[in-house]
């Protein structure tokens, strides 16, 4: 190894799940973040509790490029089961660190990779008495070795250890000792630091490291949601875990212990969405976090909610499908299923957050839109965004915010009203007025999934039914004006070439654009944030001759939706797909742009 790689490399840690590596790996990542260097962590974990291979990838990049890179510069090979695969993955010139308690020199040899052995198990066995502690401390020992090798400031790591285990003083001591074991071994046996190393910068001020699910849960709290219903499903479970813990902190009366929220673990997702609708019918803000299989089970009620015009917020943390698919891997493959969820003529508002800060903000927006439009709004997150720690701007809150509860008639308004009809389009925007049960005798109406006319009465009359569903289409047009606009980034030399993407593909797209720019190739970028798409998306598509649609699924679902729901001819759209279950990297996008340009020149 020769080349200096300061603040631009990838560490991959290969572990066995259930051995406590996750907290050590996260600590390593946060130490680098605290040194002011942008970093991201991606967890590739099995659908299992103990014994299967798991990997954690930390990308250090002072330019803030935090998508998965596809390279591995430093491999920490702690899992004998995957040694060969892990060795194979190291980028030429890289380093592999392994537990040399059991020497594997023959097995672990590659001329273009530096192999470093640290007797982690032996050191921990000699130093710690308890069997479980020995296993756990191996993790902190390799963090110690990496601290020395990568020139991470030891005080920063130690400070994090103290913060992490603040409530368990015994754990602080053990972890600090393990850290020291690894650190000293590396200093004594290797030429520290390596050319691949971290140098303090000031690039993370005003930033936080947070996962999207936690930020989403905060969005639910800040939007004033009081009813949360759910059925446990990876990768959305931590949304409700976080919501619960924030509510325990902020919504429990200190004197009486009474809770200003109600979390209901339902018997299945059919019940979870039913509970949400029962709650919103009565005027509470309610939500359900789920993932693909759960979204499938909610289909009937989602169409019902669209047709009876009840608000609902669904958080879909997408994972690989179909069926159980690979439940711990990421995809954006529910786009079509969500957009047209249910039978009959239905369309649903979708929001696409691209980082945890947007998870927070767009979740609040989702509640406002659901109330304003009286319809389900589905927040399309995914496993990569939801469960991994992302660096993003700090969350901020405007204390002047008040929820938009939409067109609701209260007791006084009903008292004064001559009459009330639930589905009458009074204002010409396709949105009727609604009432809550128990408020006023004049507000009563019947929620029915069967044919109903504009007065809320049962009908089997063709014209009445058609009038109602046509009005829902009018409301859909209103929705297109109300949803968040796309984020468009243009370059004067872009030459008619554009990229469209949603959600967690954003860092990979941005990195591709930056790398292409370094080669003198310029591309415009439209990051869609909502469906219905709205005029700005139409304009972007109209003003670009070729548009690459980047997404994480096999069937180019976003491209299909654009073809169906915009004026853009489908020949203009070129899919760029990533669907193996790992978060998208920029390489495929860079290649696709070059390919399309070459084809353009040839034509």
């Amino acid at each position: 190894m020769s080349q200096d790689r300061v603040n631009d490399f990838v560490i991959k840690l290969a572990n066995v799940n259930g051995t406590g590596s996750a907290s050590a790996n996260s600590l390593l990542m946060r130490s680098i973040f605290r040194m002011g260097v942008p970093v991201s962590g991606k967890n590739f974990f099995p659908s299992n509790i103990q014994g299967l291979p798991t990997w954690y990838e930390i990308r250090v990049n002072e330019k803030g490029r935090l998508a998965r890179s596809g390279n591995v510069d430093v491999m920490v090979a702690m899992n004998a089961q995957t040694y060969l695969q892990d060795l194979h993955e190291v980028t030429p010139g890289g380093v592999l660190l392994y537990d040399s308690t059991w020497p594997r020199d023959k097995l672990l040899s590659r001329p273009d990779v530096t192999i470093l052995g640290v007797p982690l198990a032996r050191m921990c066995n000699e130093h710690f008495a308890n069997a479980r502690t020995r296993v756990l401390m191996k993790n902190m020992a390799y963090v110690g070795a990496l601290t020395a090798l990568l020139d991470i400031e030891r005080e920063v790591v130690e400070e994090l250890v103290r913060e992490t285990f603040a409530r368990k003083p015994a754990a602080i001591d053990a972890n600090l000792q393990a850290l020291d074991l690894g650190f000293r071994y590396a200093r004594e046996h290797f030429d520290c630091p390596l050319p691949t190393r971290v140098e303090r910068r000031n690039l993370t001020a005003g930033k936080i490291m947070i996962d999207g699910n936690t930020a989403t849960a905060l969005g639910c709290v800040y939007a004033g949601a009081t009813v949360g219903a759910w059925y446990p499903i990876t990768p959305s479970t931590s949304v409700m875990d976080a919501f619960k813990s924030f509510c325990e902190r902020f919504r429990v009366d200190p004197e009486t212990g009474e809770r200003r929220y109600c979390v209901i673990q339902a018997e299945d997702e059919l019940a979870a969405i039913g509970i949400v609708l029962g709650a919103t019918w009565n005027g509470a803000r309610a939500f359900t976090p789920t993932s693909g299989p759960g979204l499938s089970l909610m289909q009937e009620f989602l169409g019902f909610a669209y047709f009876t015009e009840l608000p609902a917020v669904v958080i879909d943390v997408q994972r690989v499908g179909p069926s159980t698919g690979m439940p711990t891997r990421t995809q954006q493959a529910d786009i079509l299923a969500a957009a047209y969820a249910s039978h009959g003529d239905t369309r649903h508002v979708l929001l696409f957050p691209a980082d945890p800060r947007e998870c927070f903000e767009l979740t609040v927006t989702a509640f406002d839109l659901a109330d304003r439009l009286q319809t389900p709004v589905i927040v399309m997150s995914d496993l990569d965004l939801g469960m991994n720690d992302w660096m993003c701007d700090e969350l901020t809150w405007d204390d002047g915010y008040r929820p938009d509860r939409g067109k609701v008639l209260g007791a006084e308004e009903l008292e004064q009203a001559k009459s009330f009809f639930r589905y009458l389009d009074v204002d010409g925007d396709g949105i009727p007025y609604r009432t809550y049960p128990g408020v006023h005798p004049k507000g009563s109406y019947f929620v029915r999934g069967s044919g109903h006319n504009k007065y809320g009465l049962y009908t089997e009359n063709a014209r009445d039914y058609q009038e109602l569903v046509d009005r829902l289409l009018e409301k859909w047009r209103t929705a297109a004006r109300l949803v968040p606009a796309p984020v468009v980034r243009t370059h004067p030399e872009a030459d008619g070439l554009g990229i469209v993407a949603v959600g967690s593909s954003d860092p990979a797209v941005v990195e591709a654009i930056e790398r292409l720019a370094e080669e003198g190739i310029h591309v415009d970028y439209c990051r869609i944030r909502a469906f219905p798409f709205g005029e700005e998306v139409e304009r972007f598509l109209e003003t670009h001759e070729r548009v690459l649609v980047v997404e994480q699924n096999r069937d180019a679902q976003l491209k299909s939706l654009l073809t169906l729901e915009t004026r853009c001819p489908k020949e203009r759209l070129e899919p760029v797909l990533s669907y193996g279950g790992l978060p998208i990297d920029c390489n495929g996008i860079v290649d696709a742009v070059k390919r399309v340009r070459l084809a353009g020149v040839a034509a």
């Binding site: 009474e258 039913g274 029962g278 019918w281």
Partner: protein, 351 residues
């Protein structure tokens, strides 16, 4: 659900309740069920119970699923909010409604198809949650709207109209509710309003899940000779274990019953259910014994009716969840949002 508006005719001598309302104010649209349908009698009993309890109609919420029985909320309490949900999923709607507004009187009407087949899971979990609602199953052993298929409550040996015999054991909602920890479990017959009205009243005031399984014959598809859910069969095979009278909170206690034969159970608003034990050895406070009794009578070909089990001491849904007394939907936004300073502070752990 089809309904035809009912002309409102007010006679001068019409009885008025404590709110000054007449029985007419508690009626709904005209029923479009078959003439003679048991469900219409249940509807009439519901109207009477709400009227006599002086419940303001707009404070009641009617919920149902899909099927003939689930149509009936259109025929009572026309001034109440109603929710005709998807098939078998009414309990989840009721759960959300109760979570958002704990002050509502929630009445769910379902059928044996809606509750015991497609909705068995939701029914069971509503019982477990001890959701504060009255849940009426209008049980007739068949699917009416799809024209006469057996439902899960059909007895072994019962025959369909076209002669087909049911071989699968029935699911009894009463036994299920008892096994699942139900706190108010009753069975009645649509043809016995005397028994049904007090049960509905007590069920509405019970804090927790009140189940009334009402045998409600289907005159079109299941009222023939070989049916065990017909009017004739129910009348001849019915035995009553416990009769319940409803005593409003303000009424004086009468002690004209012989000692040992009556039990008063106080409901949370101070009113009482007065249980008259028709069968001497029956104890409506003993879950296990109740189950045994119902099973042994069933083996003997009898359908046991009455308020079969009641327990006012178990925590209901909101007690278990520790929810605040104010309905969640009425809380001010200010009491829900932690604000910018809290957001700033909590982000320290993400740095």
């Amino acid at each position: 659900m089809t309904s035809i508006a009912k002309p409102k005719i007010l006679h001068k001598g019409l009885r008025r309740n404590g709110l000054g309302l007449t029985m007419r104010d508690y009626e709904g649209g005209m029923s479009t069920l078959c003439a003679g349908c048991g469900h219409d009698s249940v509807t009439a009993a519901i109207v009477q119970a709400f009227f006599e309890l002086d419940i303001p109609p707009h404070r009641a919420a009617k919920v149902s699923g899909i099927g003939c029985s689930s149509k009936t909320p259109a025929y009572f309490l026309g001034a109440s909010h109603g929710f005709n949900a998807v098939h078998g999923r009414m309990p989840s709607i009721a759960t959300g409604a109760s979570a958002a507004n704990r002050e509502l009187y929630i009445i769910g009407v379902s059928g044996d198809g809606d509750s015991l087949s497609i909705g068995l899971g939701q029914f069971a979990h509503a019982v477990r949650r001890n959701l504060n609602m009255l849940y009426i199953i209008e049980n007739n052993g068949v699917y009416g709207l799809t024209k006469g298929q057996f439902s899960a409550s059909a007895d072994i040996g019962a025959k369909a109209k076209k002669g087909e015999e049911n071989r699968q054991p029935p699911i009894d909602p009463v036994q299920m509710a008892l096994a699942l920890g139900g706190t108010f479990v009753a069975r009645s017959f649509s043809g016995d309003k005397e028994q049904l009205v007090p049960l509905i009243k007590a069920g509405l005031l019970h804090k927790g899940f009140a189940l009334i399984d009402v045998l409600s014959p289907c005159v079109t598809f299941n009222d023939h000779e070989a049916s065990t859910k017909s009017y004739a069969y129910t009348r001849t095979h019915r035995s009553t274990a416990v009769e319940a009278d409803f005593v409003p909170a303000r009424a004086a206690i009468q002690t004209s019953y012989a000692e040992g034969e009556i039990v008063d159970v106080e409901l949370h608003d101070g009113s009482r259910v007065r249980l008259r034990k028709v069968s001497k050895d029956y104890d409506p406070g003993n879950r296990g014994a109740a189950l045994d009794y119902i099973r042994s009578r069933h083996r003997a070909g009898e359908i046991v009716t009455g308020l079969l089990y009641i327990d006012e001491s178990e925590p209901h849904f909101h007690v278990m969840n520790g929810t605040t007394q104010t309905p969640l939907a009425s809380l001010s936004y200010e009491s829900l949002c932690p604000g910018s300073a809290a957001l700033e502070a909590l982000q320290r752990r993400f740095r």
